[in-house]
């Protein structure tokens, strides 16, 4: 099993995104978030990105005000996990353009969509971030088209056009 869950957490410990590849109960999720976040936030500067937590390895990295946290099995290649989470941030950066925490807060749906394109069932499914962004943009276009159509319908119904 590759990746068990992925969290984006602010420096203050607020969850910005939580993706679960295993089925956890609500209480399990809360406990994991609490434990793992406090572990990660108390990490020292310059310390390595890996922390052992129970039976899994937590890989984390700080990007400005955001911590990205990934849990995987200890048998996995830790450096690879690190590259996967970097790839995700890169994809976000490419999609939003100089992404910052606020972009992710308000663009949560897109952030999930990008993650879904990148990872599937906890495995990396697409290594090209351009292709990831392209696919998500195509979905956005579809949404926009639908919105436009809806607006047009409303206007038509109301007799404006």
């Amino acid at each position: 099993m590759a990746i068990e869950y992925l969290l984006l957490v602010s420096r203050q410990g607020k969850v910005r995104l939580a993706k679960w590849f295993n089925a956890y109960t609500h209480t399990q999720k809360e406990k994991l978030i609490r434990d793992v976040t406090s572990l990660v936030l108390s990490s020292k500067k310059g310390s390595c990105s890996f922390i052992d937590y129970k039976d899994s390895t937590i890989t984390h990295r700080r990007y400005a005000s955001l911590h990205i946290i990934v849990s995987s099995s200890p048998s996995d290649n830790p450096l690879l996990t690190l590259e996967i989470l970097h790839r995700y941030i890169e994809s976000l950066d490419q999609y939003f353009g100089d992404v910052c925490e606020l972009d992710i807060i308000f663009g949560i749906e897109a952030a999930y969509a990008i993650l879904d394109e990148l990872l599937m069932a906890g495995e990396l499914q697409e290594t090209e971030k351009e292709r990831v962004v392209k696919t998500v943009k195509r979905m956005d276009r579809k949404v926009r088209d639908e919105n436009d159509a809806e607006l047009e319908r409303h206007l038509r119904e109301s007799g404006y056009i």
């Binding site: 420096r11 936030l41 400005a64 450096l79 690190l82 925490e101 606020l102 990396l124 290594t127 090209e128």
Partner: protein, 1007 residues
């Protein structure tokens, strides 16, 4: 009313600083209303808001039906929200899950690729066994879809389906396999990913793919896939050793050329994990490759990047099992990692050094570790910066962060880490029966020091429902967690096994017992459990105590009552032992002073025992009552024996000089292998149910009248044999000693200064980790030893004064080494290591008593422990040993069946023979009351009665290693015989079968 969207919700939360909770609750209420709305737009917005709030801990599982409604919308934007909600909140027990089947099926055939990928992706999260079975065929059809995006997505989902219902693997595999030839590289990569996962469960099935995979490896795709391929091969090579030769060249090539650290690491790790290095270990090529790997890993450690350090240590730790000599060459860098600021790195380094220790490095490594435990050693580290939560901060671009400094805090070692350090120190020293320890006095000092460093036992909140029960549980928990227990066991081990330092070990134990209140503060501080074994040592070796009276006083101090009950019961035993050694002396004349002294002593023991006779702990109570009786007898005897005076000489009472000591004296206790007892042969003619002497009461009565009654009259041959076994001491298996261990100190000191250790002498100086008093004692001992050695210069008043002197004031002459052209090269002699006698476990016929059966069980357990949880709480063990082809297994089955048949045949014969015996016996003995018992004992349930037959079955099953298959066969045998008893057995077998081997069951069903 105008509904707010997600954007307004977030803005609102941020605007209501300090009052967020109320605002969120208000919004949740609105969402509840909106989710019921007829308008799908409003419903979708509500669901989206709920997803957002779910992240902050507001469970949204109640809205699963509404999420389902949104999922079924015809609009993509709403469908996307619906699927997101499902992915985030559905679980296997979500009841609407069964309603999703048709919906997902419909979406899977949607003409639009984005919609299709939504469905596929959603399915990957929520797939349940029934969904897997219903939708797998549709997913398989997607493997040939025109869009590569769909193809590559269908593959991981299929894997998820296999996890849910393993039999799908057999039907889907042929189509899946073709994807390895796909023209799109990401599809191939996805296939490799899941083959890698599947192969981890059952590598055998994927061996035929080896040529194809090998081609992929040499073609050199992207690094991501190469990593997975290497991982995959690492699982295949153990099954197919011929692959090793083929794989070594390309992997060596990768190691030497790749710039990607992750790939480099994977190659090395794959070489180790796949047993490639071990496979070619003896060849020159293998040695060379291993040394290349180790050199690269050294590079990881010295690079300065903590992540590389971490993985480097992991890889080295795996390698050290097979190539310890190579890893040891780099122990300088590894030792630096032990003191790293980063706890994660320390843990890894700790794991590694345990494998690296040898007699030369042990004291350095242990010294370093112990220095960490010393509270005075504080390093400061910088924390990651924490910013304030303002807009500015959140707009910081994640890829281009600003510079910020974190707070400096002292590096606080977690208690758990200290605990592990102590355990590892003990493990390193005691490994292979103390093969690495050359100086046991040093080891004893280390043990004493470790007790002082022992971290407090942390007990996570236990429910205080039943106070008494909770207390007991707490005690159990502390027993498990406290390192004192482990340290005590070591102390005991040394005291028993290493005779040359036994007096020192006893002294340590004595120190703990006497200085209990000083060493172990009442609150906090762990290590208290060391008192148990210390108590045992001072009792068993009471004659070696330096101050038995003081020890005795500490043992019977009223505060001992508060000790944990298991330690207390050890104390009780020790008290009597020391009492025996204090009072048993023949040579001390039985004067009136002596009489008073002994009376007093006995009286004090009795006073100590009195409250314990009503102890709630049975063990303590029993011992206290027994000893109380004994001491009462002593008191009577003492009072009855008049003291010697000038005219008449009286001996001390016999009960003190003979009876009490004889309870404890006898042969020395030697270490015995844990399972040796089981192998002790039953003396012939021993019937455990036979009373030893049928007319015992009359004998006792007779003995009262006839004190000269002796028992040793006739000794036949068998008896002699028996005697020899039980009473003659076997030769110890240890290496003969040349010199006592106490002489080891100099060699150890000399060793630590030789060039072998890269660290300076100061670095490992004992004073850096041993406490002052321990060092002072060592120093004094050393001086004592070298008293007459003219090469030693002593300070006139003993060692302590020197430390007080003003070191600055001592004039120092500058030494210019260049002026001395050719200083006489000092002969650095490698000190000859002395062997200290370590008594090995005693077993029978040189056997360590480890049963194969036991080992087998251990293996079984290991295998079971490996189970991993899969998606939606279903574990992936279904795929373990799951064969793709049904045929293979049948062949194996046939072989095993034949064997099992034979086995059953043999057992039946045995049973018949046994039944025969029983019948004979029954005829002979008509005493009905005793009969059942006897039959049971002598034939061990081999009787013909159904009940017992059942029992016997259980036993034989336990004995046989390969459980599963045999039972199956037994079942068949039962059918053939059609015997009533057999049928009963069959039932049981069936039950066990279902419990134990679901995998097997799954296969049989599929067949």
């Amino acid at each position: 009313m105008f509904e707010k969207g997600l954007y307004e919700l977030i803005r609102g939360i941020r605007a209501n600083k300090g009052n967020e909770r109320n605002y969120v609750l208000e919004s949740l209420k609105e969402c509840r209303q909106e989710a019921k709305s007829q308008d799908l737009n409003i419903k979708a917005t509500a669901i989206l808001k709920l997803i957002y709030l779910d992240m902050f801990g507001h469970d949204m599982s109640w809205a699963s039906f509404h999420a389902l409604e949104v999922m079924s919308s015809s609009q993509f934007r709403q469908k996307r929200v619906g699927y997101l909600a499902a992915v985030q909140s559905f679980r296997l027990d979500t009841d609407v899950l069964m309603l999703t089947t048709n919906l997902i099926k419909k979406d899977l055939y949607s003409p639009s690729v984005p919609e299709m990928s939504l469905a596929i992706n959603g399915l990957s999260h929520i797939v349940s066994p029934s969904l897997a079975q219903d939708l797998a065929p549709d997913l398989v059809s997607k493997l040939t879809h025109s869009s590569p995006i769909v193809r590559k997505k269908a593959i991981p989902v299929l894997y998820k389906c296999f996890l849910q219902s393993p039999e799908l693997l057999r039907t889907c595999w042929p189509r899946l396999r073709e994807c390895l030839n796909d023209e799109d590289s990401s599809v191939v990569s996805a296939t490799v990913n899941i083959v890698c996962e599947l192969a981890r469960r059952n590598p055998k099935n994927y061996l035929p793919l080896a040529p194809q995979l090998f081609k992929l490896l040499t073609d050199g795709g992207n690094n991501w896939m190469t990593i997975k391929l290497i991982k995959l091969f690492a699982t295949l090579t153990p099954l197919e050793p011929r692959l090793v030769k083929k794989l070594v060249p390309p992997i060596t090539n990768l190691i030497q050329t790749t710039p990607a650290m992750s790939l480099l690491y994977e190659c090395i790790s794959g070489l180790i994990q796949g047993g490639l290095l071990a496979g070619i270990q003896d060849t020159e090529e293998g040695e060379e490759l291993a040394s290349v790997c180790v050199t690269k890993l050294r590079g990881f450690l010295v690079e300065g990047d903590s992540n590389l350090k971490y993985v480097g240590l992991i890889a080295l730790a795996k390698l050290v099992n097979t190539h310890a000599h190579l890893v040891c060459q780099h122990h300088d860098v590894v030792l630096n990692c032990i003191d790293d600021d980063d706890i994660s790195i320390r843990y890894r380094a700790l794991e590694l050094v345990v494998g690296m220790v040898n007699p030369d490095t042990l004291s350095t490594i242990v010294g370093k570790l112990m220095r960490q435990l010393k509270p005075a050693n504080r390093d400061y580290v910088e924390l990651e910066p924490t910013g304030s939560e303002d807009e500015d901060d959140m707009q910081e671009e994640v890829m281009h962060p600003k510079k910020a400094r974190g707070a400096m805090i002292p590096l606080e070692l977690p208690e758990d880490y200290k605990h592990i350090v102590i355990c590892k120190v003990l493990e390193m020293c005691s490994r292979d029966m103390y093969a690495n320890v050359t100086d046991f006095e040093w080891y004893l000092d280390v043990l004493c020091q470790l007790v002082r460093f022992a971290p407090a036992v942390q007990v996570e909140g236990t429910a205080p429902e039943d106070a008494e029960e909770a207390e007991e549980e707490l005690e159990e928990l502390i027993k498990k967690r406290d390192v004192g227990e482990a340290i005590g066991k070591e102390l005991q081990n040394v005291a028993i096994r290493v005779k040359s330092v036994r007096p020192e070990a006893v002294r340590c134990a004595e120190m703990f017992i006497v200085g209990r209140d000083g060493v172990f503060p009442a609150a906090g501080g762990g290590g208290k459990r060391v008192l148990g074994d210390s108590g045992w040592i001072v009792g068993e070796y009471a004659s070696l105590l330096t101050n038995p009276t003081l020890t005795f006083d500490s043992l019977i101090a009223p505060s001992s009552n508060t000790l944990p009950s298991d330690i207390l019961s050890i104390y009780l035993q020790s008290i009597t032992k020391i009492y025996a050694s204090l009072t048993s002396s023949f040579s001390i004349p039985w004067t009136s002073e002596r009489k008073t002294y002994v009376t007093l002593l006995t009286d004090r023991v009795l006073r100590f025992l009195a409250p314990l006779t009503i102890s709630p702990n049975l063990e303590v109570q029993e011992r206290a009552v027994e000893f109380q009786e004994l001491f009462r007898l002593c008191t009577e005897a003492i009072l009855a024996q008049p003291p010697s005076n000038t005219t008449e000489i009286y001996d001390p009472p016999l009960i003190l000089t003979q009876a009490v000591p004889s309870l404890f004296l006898g042969q020395e206790l030697n270490p015995v292998a844990p399972r040796a007892q089981r192998k002790v042969p039953l003396p012939p003619g021993l019937d455990l149910d036979e009373p030893i002497n049928p007319n015992l009461p009359s004998l006792i009565v007779a003995a009262d009248y006839n004190p000269s009654l002796t028992t040793d009259d006739d000794e036949d041959k068998e008896d002699a044999k028996f005697r020899e076994y039980y009473y003659t001491k076997p030769a110890t298996t240890s290496i003969p000693k040349n010199q006592p261990a106490s002489h080891g100190i100099d060699s150890a000191a000399a060793r630590s200064s030789t060039a072998q250790t890269p660290l300076s002498y100061q670095n490992v100086a004992e004073d850096s980790y041993l406490d002052a008093d321990i060092i002072a004692r060592r120093k004094k001992e050393r001086q004592e030893r070298h008293k007459d050695d003219p090469f030693y210069i002593f300070a006139p008043g003993g060692g302590e004064e020197i430390t007080d002197a003003d070191l600055e004031a001592i004039p120092v002459m500058e030494l210019n080494l260049e002026d001395v052209p050719h200083a006489v090269p000092q002969e650095v002699r490698k000190p000859v290591r002395e062997r200290v006698v370590v008594v090995m476990d005693e077993g029978i016929d040189g056997d360590d008593g480890l049963d194969e059966e036991e080992e087998e069980k251990g293996k079984d357990k290991k295998g079971k422990g490996k189970k991993k949880g899969g998606l939606l709480g279903v574990d992936a063990s279904g795929l373990v040993g799951y064969s793709l082809e049904g045929g293979e297994e049948k062949k194996n089955d046939y072989e095993e069946e034949k064997e099992a048949r034979k086995e059953v045949e043999r057992l039946r014969k045995e049973m018949e023979a046994a039944a025969e015996k029983v019948r004979e016996r029954e005829e002979m003995e008509k005493a009905a009351a005793k009969k059942t018992k006897k039959v049971k004992k002598t034939v061990e349930g081999e009787g013909k009665k159904k009940k017992k037959e059942k029992k016997k079955e259980g036993e034989t099953e336990g004995e046989a290693g390969e459980k599963k298959k045999k039972k199956k066969k037994v079942k068949k045998e039962g059918e053939v015989e059609g015997d009533g008893a057999e049928k009963k057995k069959k039932k049981k077998v069936k039950k066990e079968k279902t419990v134990e081997e679901d995998t097997q069951a799954a296969t049989t069903v599929a067949e």
